[in-house]
Each structure stands twice: as C-alpha cells, then as structure tokens.
Amino acid sequence: MELTAVLALPLIGGMVLALVGHRRPAAEINAAFSLLTLFAAAALTARVIAGGPLTAYRQQFFVDSLNVFLVALTAFVGFTTALFSRPYMRVEHDHGKLTALRLRLYHSMFQLFMFTMLLALLTNNMGILWVAMEAATLTTVLLVSLYRTAASLEAAWKYFILCGVGIAQALFGTILLYFAAEKLLGSEGSALLWTHLDTVKAHLEPTVLSLAFVFLLVGYGTKVGLVPLHNWLPDAHAEGPTPVSAVLSGLLLNVALYAVVRCKVLADGALRSALAGQLMMGFGLLSVVVAAFFLSRQKDVKRMFAYSSIEHMGLITFAFGMGEATASFAGLLHMTVHSLTKSAIFFAVGHAAQKAGTQVMDNIRGLIKINPTVGWGLMLGTLAILGMPPFGVFASEFLILTSAMRQQPWATPILLMALGVAFAAVFGKVQPMVFGDTSARRLPHPPAILPVFVHLALVLMLGLWIPPYLAEWYRQAAKFIG
C-alpha cells in the first residue's frame, strides 16, 4: 500500500541507481523515482486526510497529520530537486568536476537519503528514528564530499564528526527514554513506540525525562543546526553540490526538527513544566540573533544562505518552544514556506554560480542581463526569505511575532532587530548580484527554472491564501504539538 510504496520506492531507486547511475539517463531515472515517490506520498496523504491517523506493521510505523504533511513536503521538494539536478549535474559533469562514477554515487545516495528521511518521518519507533537520522548523516556525508576537493573533504569530515557525536548524545537520550518507559510498558519492543509513549507520557519519570530531553535536544539539535551546535552546517552547505545544499536546508533540518518536536511532546507530558519549551525558545532566539549577525560577513553565496537557514530554523524552534496553537501553527507553516523558498533559492543560486563560474558573491553580477529568469528567481526568492510580503514567509513570521507579542513580549524586539539586521545584510549582497552589468557566460544546457517558480508561486499563494484543508491540517498537527 501507499506507506510501503513511499518507503520502498526510494530504496529500490537507490539500488537501481547504484547499478546504472553512471549511464546517460540516470538523471531521468532519478527524477522518475522521485516522481513515483511523490505520487505515493500524495496517495498516503489523501488516505490520512480521509481516514485519520494510521499505524502499520505491528505499529512500527505511524502516520498522523504532523508527519504526513512533512512526508508530502519531503517528497515534493525531493522531486523538484531531482528535476533541478538533472541539468545542473550534467553541466558539472561536462565541466569535468565529476566523473560518471561520482554521478552514480550521487544519484543512488540521493535516493537513499530520501529513503532515510522518509523512514525517520514515518517510523513509530524512537530507536529507528535515531537509526534513520544517523543513516541520513552517513548518506549526506558522502554527498557533501562528492567533489573530493580539500574544502569538501574538510566540510564532510566536520559534518561527520560533529553530527556523529551529536547523534550519539541523542542515542543516550533515547536509552534514557527507554529506561523510563520500560517500567510502564515492559521491556519488549513496544516501550520505544511513540504512540505508546504518548499514551503514558503523563506517568513517565520527570527526572529521567528531563535528562533524556536534554540529551535528545543536544543530539537532534546539532542536526537542526541550533547555535552553538551549528558549526558543521555552513561548511556542508557551501561545499556540497547545490542540489544537496537544497535538500539539506529544505528537508534534513525539518526532519531533525520534527524529531525534536516529537521528543518535546513527550517531555511536556512528563515534566508538567515548561522546561522543554524554555530550552527550545532559548536555543531558537540565540540561533536567530547569532545567525543574523553572521550573514553580513559572508562572501560565498551558498554559505550565506546556509546561515539564513540557521536563522529560520531558530525562528521555527522558537515558535514550537512557545508551544501554543497559533505558535505551532506558525511553526509548521514556516517549515513549509522555508523549505520551499530556500530550496528555490538554492536552485537559482546553483544556476547563477554555474553561469558565473564561482560562488563568490563579489564575482557574480548582473544575472538579470544574462538570464532574467534566474535573476528574478533569485531576487524574488531572497525577498521572500527575508520576510517580504506578499510571500508566505511573511505570513508565518507575522503569526510567530504576533503570538510572541502575546506570550513573550520581551522576545519580540530582539527577533525583529535580528530580522532587520538579516535584511540589511542579505539584500545588500544579493541586489548587486542580480542587478547591474554582468560578467557571466551562457551555458549549453538550459537551466531548469520551472522548480524555482513553482516553489515561489506556492510560497506566494501561501502568503495570500492558505487552502482551508491545509489550514485544518496544520491545526490538527498544532493541536497535539501542544
């Protein structure tokens, strides 16, 4: 059925591409598998909307409104990224940056990466969640180091070590969770099933849970890229191939945050105090402010947008930390628009960097001249990510800020100040890239500009009109996030 398909398709895709990934049509195969996954995800979504939450395979898998929406998002962005990477990777190959074998590695790892993320989202078992997260790290490590340049190796190394260590903390947290749960649920496998934990969360031992949550937060927080655990993120984004940067920002961070949120629900249930929320708010605020100040120092365009991802993840974490219907709603909305916008930006940036032959912003000029669509894509995407209406990012930021004004008035000026700084920094750097006279060259392959504008159109729509069922869906999810 759908769930199986959602998980199996990317896995099979990974296998297949591991064999034929170096052939000419590999990119198309890749896109095809992603498309099929998207269909499966859509079907699954439809099913859940119709029938409500469901579990499968002896409750090892669990689908509810929260993760199904992330599944759909992941599958969608995965597909558009595959579309984008088709011409992009071809150009890289033609420039001799990548051999055919590397392309094979890329394609199969891309599919496997999708698999691990979907697994992490769909599983009901906190242990498997951990396994999947770790696996996601491993696959992406290979993707980040794809170019085998000094910088990419260094980035991959840091990514591996930092995330590995972080994830290890998460494992300890999971053990503690299990340790707390087994006294209630018995020591057989069911003690790690989230649904069961959720039912008994009120009786879980507070001291253990608080300890566990700290470990889990630090562990998964590392992958979310919360300051000060964020240091791997800019390097990995800047040095990997652009499609990978797009999925990292667009999807992986979301998945990690999803794990944190799941844990927060349990912790809230057990602790009867706002501890978890306060921790998340603290991390979120810190991330927003620090990232905002980082932005203005950047020279590498992908690095800059990586920092902006940190900023937005901080914002979302803050929203979930406030933990109230509107805030969580806003957080989910922001997850959506951020991953759509940010991946769109990375698509545009990828083409721009290829045209200019560099990622250094000072050497990218006048995109509008050489290729208006890419230029406008980058400009509009940037404005959207900076929270300019009428794009959806503003909608979610508006909701976050307004609920902050109601609950944490003290935090609002800080957030707004950070947003202002970010605006000054990013826009000041992007404007000359897009406008002005150019030095870029034309490329043999036409850029895949469709994904960019599809994403931006969706974001624009979300800014002006949120479809009722989508809103309902967010509401359900927000309700049980708390």
Partner: protein, 671 residues
C-alpha cells in the same frame, strides 16, 4: 458585508484596484511592445484612476462600509473598510494617479532600463497596493499592502539598475522602508493589547492605558515617519526620488508619502482612543525641524529632482506640524481647533499631491528634452518648451505658497490654527507656539526662494548649453497629464470652501468637529473658517482683482500711449560681451543660504587660487546626520558581526568543545 444588490462604493473601489492588478499582469504579455503598453494599458490605468477618484468622492458621502475577502490567514482573512478618511485618500490617489498615469503613457521610451511591460506591472502593482493600504482594516492585510507598496516602488526606483548610485539608493530606500515596517508591526502588536485580535475593529475596542498608548504612538510615528521622510529617517528620500523615473518620483512624492500620513492618522485618531497633548508637541517640533531642514537643503541643491525631493521633505514637515497642532488641541479637548488644524493638514496633503506631482512630471519632460537633471546645464527652456514652462509656473506658485495658488490656502489655515493657540491651558506650549509660527512662516518664505531658483534657472534666462537649442516640448499625452494636474492645483486653490466642505466629512469622525458649516456660512465665495470678523480669505476675489487691474492697466497703457517695441541686445549696465555662463549657477543662487545657514551643512569647498589659469570651483554639501547617526549604527553592527565571527574559527576541537559545554551547561541547568 456586501450583501444585497446595492453596489456600494467599497465594491467599486476593490474592483477598480483589482483592475489595476489585471492591467499590470497584462503588461507581461508583450513586455517590449511600447505601443501596446504605453498607448493602451497606461491610459486604461488612468481611466481606472479617474473612476477610483469618483468612487472615493461617492464614499466620502456614504457611511463606512466593510468587506471581508476570503483571502489571507485562516484566522485573519483580509478585512477591508472604506470610511471617509480612506475615501479622501482614495480621491487623492485617484486624482493624482490619473494625471500621472496618462503622463506615463507618453513618457516611457524604448531601451531605458526595465522592459516597459515589466514597469507597467510594477507601476500598477504600486497603485493597487496603495489603494489597498488605504482600504485595509486589519494588521495583516495592511502590512501586506504596505510592504508590497514598498517593494513595487523599489523595483520602479531601480528600473535603471545599471547605475550603481541608483542601486545604492534603492537599497537604502527598501532598507529604511523595511525597518519602518517593523516599527509599524510592533505598534500594531501594542495596539491589540494582548487580545490577539488583529483586526482594526478589535484594536478600536481595546482600551489603551497611557504608557502603552504612548508606546504605540511612538512606534507608529517611527514607522510611518520612516516612510514619510521625517527627520532623521529622511535620508532615503533625496536618493530615491531622483533615481526613479519621473512619473514614479511623482507618484512616490505626491501619493506614497501621503499613504504614510494616512497610516499615522488612522492609528492616532481612529485606533487609539486617547491622544495626549505632548505627543502633539513632539511631532510639532520634529515637523518644524523637518520642514526647515528640507527647505534649507533644497535651496542649495544643484540637481532639479533632488531639489524637489528636499522640498517634499519640507512639505511633509509642514503637514506634520499641522498634525502635531491637531493632536495637541485634541489632547486638550478643543475639538473645534483640532478640526481646524486637521483640515489644514488634509488640505495640504491634497495640495502637495497636486503640485509636487506636477513639478516632478515637468522635470521628467525637461529630462527627456535635455537629458540632464543638473541645473547647471539648463536654462531658457521657456522658449523651447512653453507648455511645460507655463504649467510648471502654476506648480511653482502653488509650491511657493503664494495667493491665489493652492499652497497658500493650507498655509493660511495652518497659520490661523497657530493664532488660536493662546487658548491653550499650558504655559510652555503657549510660549513655544510663536516660535513655531515664526519657523513656519520662514519655511514658507524660503520655499519661495527655492521655487524662484528652480523655475528661474530651468526655464528662464539663456540656455547654458548649446545642445538645449533643439530641446522639444512635451508630447500630447504628457501635456494632458500636466494640464490635468495644473487644473487640480487651480481648483484646490480657488474653491477652498467646497473642498473644506468635503474635508468636514473626514474631520468629524476623527475629532468630532468640522469646519463645514462655519466655512459655508461665509458664503461660497468667502472662506471664513471661524467667522468673517476674525479672518477671511477669498482667492477668487483676489484673482479677479489682480486680473481686472492687469487687464485695465494693459488696455489703458496701450490705449493712452503706444505699443512700440524694439528688440535689442540686453543692456546689462553696458557690459559689452556677455555669455550664458555669466548667469547665476545653481550653486551661486544657493550661496546666500549656504552662508546664512552654514552650521546646517557639512561642506567641502575647493576654491581656485588667484593664479590659476583654468580656475575651478567645487563645493559639495552633505548631511551631518550621516556622520552623526547612520555611520555609528553601521559601525556597531559591524562590531557585532566581528564578535560572532569569532565563533566560527574552523577548529573542530573547538566546535566539539562548544557542544560539550552546551551539554554540560544544560545538564547543570536542569539539575
């Protein structure tokens, strides 16, 4: 709601704004086709603007109407409301927009910056968003329209983005607009006062305690002031206005600045129930500073569009002075006087919209004819482009605040307002007022200086460049636009009683009083806002008298004597050889002001040495605030970034240490 078959003004207004959007989108079908965009779409846009103005007039007479669109956030759909205040500003938008659009239809040339189709989209988006700003009735929709307005105008400003200065101007503009928007958002956050209801209706319902009200007001003043060009947030204005294509400059200066005034009024007199008198005093002071600053700087400009931009700052200052006066009166509970000041303010909004758009459009024509914005390269254009020159003269007289122009009426009302301040129950304010009045008078006089400089150097005298000889007059569509705006100026100048009758409908809901019947009591001819014995003014009579004497004198002189005229070279005290270069340059004309107000400027002079074979004289006049305010802020931010950069130093051991310490700290924290 819009239930029922009745076709309310609000429906029409929304529909018309939507029409603008459609027109804009239509521009994308043939972006490079100038005939299609220029001859079809822009005139249609002008038509829509006219209809919108009519709708606004209708709404001015109707009772407030609301509408909810099924868009926006799930819990906060787009609320729209058209009351008399919105209606007035819609009239302003439509009236000025009609002239500007028809002018723009003839203005855009091929191969200038962005494709005309794209500009058409941005331009109409700009218009529509302004219309929505004036109709929005909840914080979210307001912010969306507000920022869309900023964004579209930003793209229009940077439409010739190959020039770095223009890019810089655009960046500065959008940045300050965004920061202002943040202030506005915060102000709304304070206004909803914890109720979580972000509709304006909900905010009206909130009782605002003193300090919170003050906070909301302060934030709103900051936010809207940033957009209006209030000191010290004015720096973007003289950069952005010259950078934009002239119709856009006209639209920004004539209408967009008023949108921020509208927002200020909306927050102060509608959303807030209480107005404290000292708010007014603060705004009064700021407004005076802005006005004086603006006019002094515009007197020393050498670029005609910068000159006009600074004069816009001056007018915004005057508007804010009137506003501050109104708030003060209101704070002391003097409704009638508040109404007087408010009327003066609204009237000046209308006037400025009319004459400043007119003047900016004239500079546009001059720019097209001569390819130069620098006053030093112009002159004598009254012979080459008489249409533009004479229409500009109307705007110049209005802008200089001379009777029977329209600028004079609002200044007259404002000064009347000042004359009533002795009634105020507060000693200091009483003492402050004469000084304020004096400053206002001085500003008005200085604007006369500025306008003489502008008109005299651009249109009179002899051409300073050979190339000016083949300057051509404006095209038909441009003439229509200019004439329309000039007609508006005359109308506003000559029919004050009627206009005030309309403004009465606006002031009543806001301050609970109006000048309507008092003005009507004086008869349609005579404007007497309080009573005829106290003060009265009749522009029509003045004009009639002047015209009559003029005609009589002409006839008499020609009848009694002769009408012989001999053409000769100018005498000029018998100087033998005169060149056009001997006329006053813009620098020269500004020199007395530079000398009198030296401390205001940050000047760099290059004086030629007496033995210099080819003497050169250079002076640049800059703004102190850059060095006193903006650079320090920039440096502070830079410092912050340097601090955080220390976090990311590349050593993995250090990174591990961070996470280790984080872990330990958290464990400690929860123990």
């Amino acid at each position: 709601m819009t239930a029922g078959a009745a076709w309310l003004p609000i429906d029409a207004a929304v529909a018309l704004a939507a029409c603008w959007l459609v027109l804009g989108a239509a521009g994308l079908f043939a972006p490079r086709n100038l005939a299609y965009v220029g001859r079809l779409l822009f005139p249609l846009g002008a038509l829509v603007a006219l209809l919108l103005a009519a709708t606004g007039l209708a709404a001015l007479h109707a009772s407030p109407q609301v509408m909810v669109l099924a868009l926006g956030l799930p819990d906060l759909p787009f609320h729209l409301r058209v009351d008399s205040l919105s209606a007035l500003f819609l009239v302003l938008l439509g009236g000025a927009g009609a002239g500007i659009s028809i002018y723009a239809a003839g203005y855009f040339r091929p191969g200038e910056g962005t494709a005309p189709g794209l500009q058409c989209l941005q331009y109409h988006l700009f218009l529509a968003s302004m219309a929505f700003v004036m109709m929005a009735d909840d914080a979210y929709f307001f912010m969306v329209s507000w920022e869309t307005m900023a964004l579209s105008s930003f793209f229009l400003v940077t439409s010739d983005h190959r020039i770095p200065e223009i890019r810089r101007a655009g960046y500065l503009y959008l940045l300050i607009a965004h920061i202002g928007a943040i202030g506005i958002l915060l102000s709304f956050g304070v206004l909803q006062g914890g109720s979580g209801d972000y509709t304006f209706a909900g905010m009206r319902a909130q009782p605002h305690a003193g300090w919170w009200a003050s906070a909301a007001f302060g934030l709103a003043l900051f936010g809207f002031g940033a957009k209006a060009g209030l000191l010290p947030l004015h720096v973007w204005l003289p950069e952005a206005h010259p950078a934009a294509p002239s119709p856009v400059s006209a639209m920004m200066s004539g209408v967009m600045l008023k949108a921020s005034i509208y927002g200020l009024l909306r927050v102060t007199f509608d959303l807030l129930q209480t107005q404290l008198w000292w708010w007014g005093v603060i705004v009064l002071a700021l407004g005076l500073l802005t006005a004086l600053f603006g006019v002094i700087f515009s007197a020393v400009q050498t670029d005609m569009k910068r000159l006009l931009a600074y004069s816009s700052i001056e007018n915004i200052g005057l508007i804010l002075v009137a506003y501050g006066l109104a708030v003060t009166f209101r704070g002391f509970g003097m409704a009638a006087l508040a109404a007087l000041a408010l009327t003066a303010m609204l009237y000046h909004c209308l006037n400025h919209a009319a004459f400043k758009s007119l003047l900016f459009l004239c500079t546009g024509s001059v720019l097209h004819a001569t390819r130069s914005r620098s006053l030093g390269r112009l002159g004598g254009l009254i012979h080459r482009m008489p249409w533009v020159a004479w229409l500009a003269l109307v705007g110049v007289l209005a802008s200089a605040g001379l009777p029977p122009g329209n600028g004079f009426v609002s200044e007259w009302l404002l000064l009347q307002g000042f004359l009533f301040t002795p009634g105020l129950p507060h000693g200091y304010v009483n003492m402050l007022v004469p000084v304020a009045a004096a400053a206002v008078a001085m500003t008005a006089a200085l604007s006369g200086y500025v306008m003489v400089k502008f008109f005299g150097i651009v249109f009179l005298g002899r051409p300073r460049e050979e190339s000016l000889v083949q300057a051509h007059d404006a095209g038909t569509l441009e003439r229509i636009g200019l004439t329309w705006l000039a007609a508006l100026c005359l109308l506003l100048g000559l029919a004050p009683v009627a206009v005030i009758g309309e403004l009465d409908r606006v002031t009543r809901p806001l301050v609970g009083h109006g000048l309507g019947e008092a003005a009507r009591a004086g008869g349609w001819l005579l404007l007497a806002p309080i009573d005829a014995a106290r003060a009265s003014y009749s522009p029509l009579l003045v004009l009639a008298a002047i015209a009559a004497v003029f005609a009589l004198a002409v006839m008499a002189v020609h009848r009694l004597y002769h009408r012989r005229v001999r053409r000769a070279d100018p005498w000029d005290c018998g100087f033998p050889r005169q060149t056009a270069r001997m006329q006053d340059t813009a620098e020269g004309f500004g020199q007395p002001i530079r000398q009198v107000f030296e401390p205001f400027f940050r000047m760099e002079r290059e004086l030629p040495s007496p033995f210099d074979a080819t003497p050169r004289y250079r002076v640049t006049v800059a703004d102190h605030l850059w060095h006193w305010l903006y650079l320090p802020i920039a440096r502070a931010a830079e410092f912050g970034t340097r601090l955080v950069a220390f976090l990311q130093q590349g050593r993995i051991a250090v990174y591990l240490l961070y996470s280790f310490f984080t872990l330990l700290a958290l464990l400690f924290f929860i123990r």
